[in-house]
Amino acid sequence: MTADLFVVEDLTVTLPTGRGPVDVVKNVSFTVGRDDTLGIVGESGSGKSMTALAVLGLLPRGAETSGSIRLEGKELLGRSERELQSIRGNAISMVFQDPLSSLNPYYTVGLQIEEMYRAHRGGSRRDARKVAIEALERVHIPDAGRRIDHYPHQFSGGQRQRIMIAMALCCSPSLLIADEPTTALDVTVQAQILELMAELQSTTGTGMIFITHDLAVISSIAKRVLVMCAGDPVEYGTAEQVFSDPHHDYTRTLLDAVPRIDDEVAS
């Protein structure tokens, strides 16, 4: 087997609180390969988002991390802010839940994609604009050449999330971290975005970490699954194993709690 694209080993995140330090992520280990999607699932407070923030070096001030986070063999923990800046949005990029709060309302979407691209890759504005239009076309924004000069509020919620995905992918990252990217969307729009993400992954081979509280979404997009509960990694395996033969009681309870739309209604 070739070396994994992305490896997290014994990651522990400690946050200072009024009542002393609290481990919000405890000894979490996982790997993500090329063309692979790891789903991280858990309820609120499970530490799933903190894991993502630790990977990106975006933890709140005062947080302490231990363990190892390696991308293509290179250790990321302990890097300077400057080095992390050059990695974020470039080798590792991210998509968050709320596209409206991630986009600046005062700038056109084109300018925001161009700025991001040039920060990492340099080059002329004209080249960056070409890249931005291509990026918007890749996420199926119709009439991208004209829409690039529009502002975030002129797009629907689903389109805004497409723009975030376009921005995340324009530097051809090795790893994409998506934290609840479809949670704020209507169900029909969610289905379109999930389809788009799967399509883009199959064409680019980007490794993906998909974080959500929604087990049905995880089931439809992840190849492997990590279940977290109160900072602990309680279950880690292929999606098929976790969903068909969960080893941990918490996973079973969680799966039992999900309301189903197809089969018999539990009385």
Binding site: E43, S44, G157, D186, V187, T188, V189, Q190, A191, L194, H213, D214, L215, A216, V217, S219, S220, A239, E240, F243, S244, D245, P246, R252, T253, L254, L255, D256, A257, V258, P259, R260, I261, D262, D263, V265, A266
Partner: protein, 278 residues
């Protein structure tokens, strides 16, 4: 005779048109909607954002007045009821909202919160306020000794139980739940749904259950109305809507719901049963 009859209700909002100097425009949030709710049943209204489901709920709760159409409760037209008539209506129709914390006053004790509907109606509970609050808390599965605590001392699921307890204080005939379980984690959501169903079995009131989550709606409702762009596009029994949808939009909506791989799910259940048997 139906408990609640919504008859040809339309709600328009005045909006600013496109551009700074554009004339005012009207936006039709709810467009000629009619339905009935029988005593003891649960009618779910589902739809995506902007479908008009919450506006419909607010009109049914008389929190908004319709532009046209009527709301009848127990055979009485309450569309423009005021004073005593409106008070009587509020005694029978209560609402549970999505965000428990923003609908509970953070400076009031739970006792004061859950007995507030009685206070507003000028009713003094038999056996005293404290005993009444404790009984309500017990009904919704909370520790009655906690009735002197404040909302911040409770978790999201517990806070939603407090909201439900408050709705039950006046012994309503209709409880309108507007995305009442949407903000809760899935395990908590399952518990609150069970609670809502148990309370209905015990007291025999009706629910209007507003939700965007079709799987949740399938657990709790007997009839389902599907809304899209202000109109009810399909209304039928739960089983008809979920297994034999007629409207194209309903079909699209159902197809879009993400599902746990059914084969994995079946295998897990049979393994679970085998484990229990051994």
């Amino acid at each position: 005779m139906s408990l609640l009859t919504i008859n040809g209700v339309t709600k328009q909002f005045v909006t600013r048109g496109e551009g700074v100097l554009a004339p005012k425009a009207t936006f039709t949030a709810v467009d000629n909607v009619s339905f009935e709710v029988e005593l003891g049943e649960t009618l779910a209204i589902v739809g995506e954002s902007g479908s008009g489901k919450s506006t419909t709920a607010r009109i049914a709760a008389r929190l908004l007045e319709p532009t046209s159409g009527t709301v009848e409760f127990d055979g009485q037209d309450v569309t423009r009821a005021t004073g005593k008539d409106l008070a009587r209506f509020r005694n029978n129709v209560q609402v549970v909202f999505q965000d428990p914390f923003s609908s509970l006053n953070p400076r009031y004790t739970i006792e004061r919160i859950v007995t507030a509907p009685l206070t507003y109606q000028g009713i003094a509970p038999k056996g005293g306020r404290r005993a009444f609050a404790q009984e309500l808390m017990e009904r919704v599965g909370l520790n009655p000794d906690h009735c002197q605590r404040y909302p911040a001392q409770f978790s999201g699921g517990q806070a939603q139980r407090i909201g439900i307890a408050r709705a039950l204080a006046v012994n309503p005939k209709l409880v309108i739940c507007d995305e009442a379980v949407s903000a809760l984690d899935v395990s908590i959501q399952a518990q609150v749904l069970k609670l809502l169903m148990r309370l209905q079995r015990e007291s025999g009131f009706s629910y209007i259950f507003i939700a965007h989550d079709l799987a949740v709606v399938r657990q709790i409702s007997q009839r389902v109305a599907v809304m899209n762009k202000g109109k009810i596009v399909e209304l039928g029994s739960r089983d008809q809507i979920f297994s034999d949808p007629q409207d194209e939009y309903t079909k699209t909506l159902l197809a879009a719901v993400p599902r746990i791989n059914p084969e994995w799910d079946r295998r897990r259940r049979s393994l679970g049963r085998a484990r229990e048997a051994s």
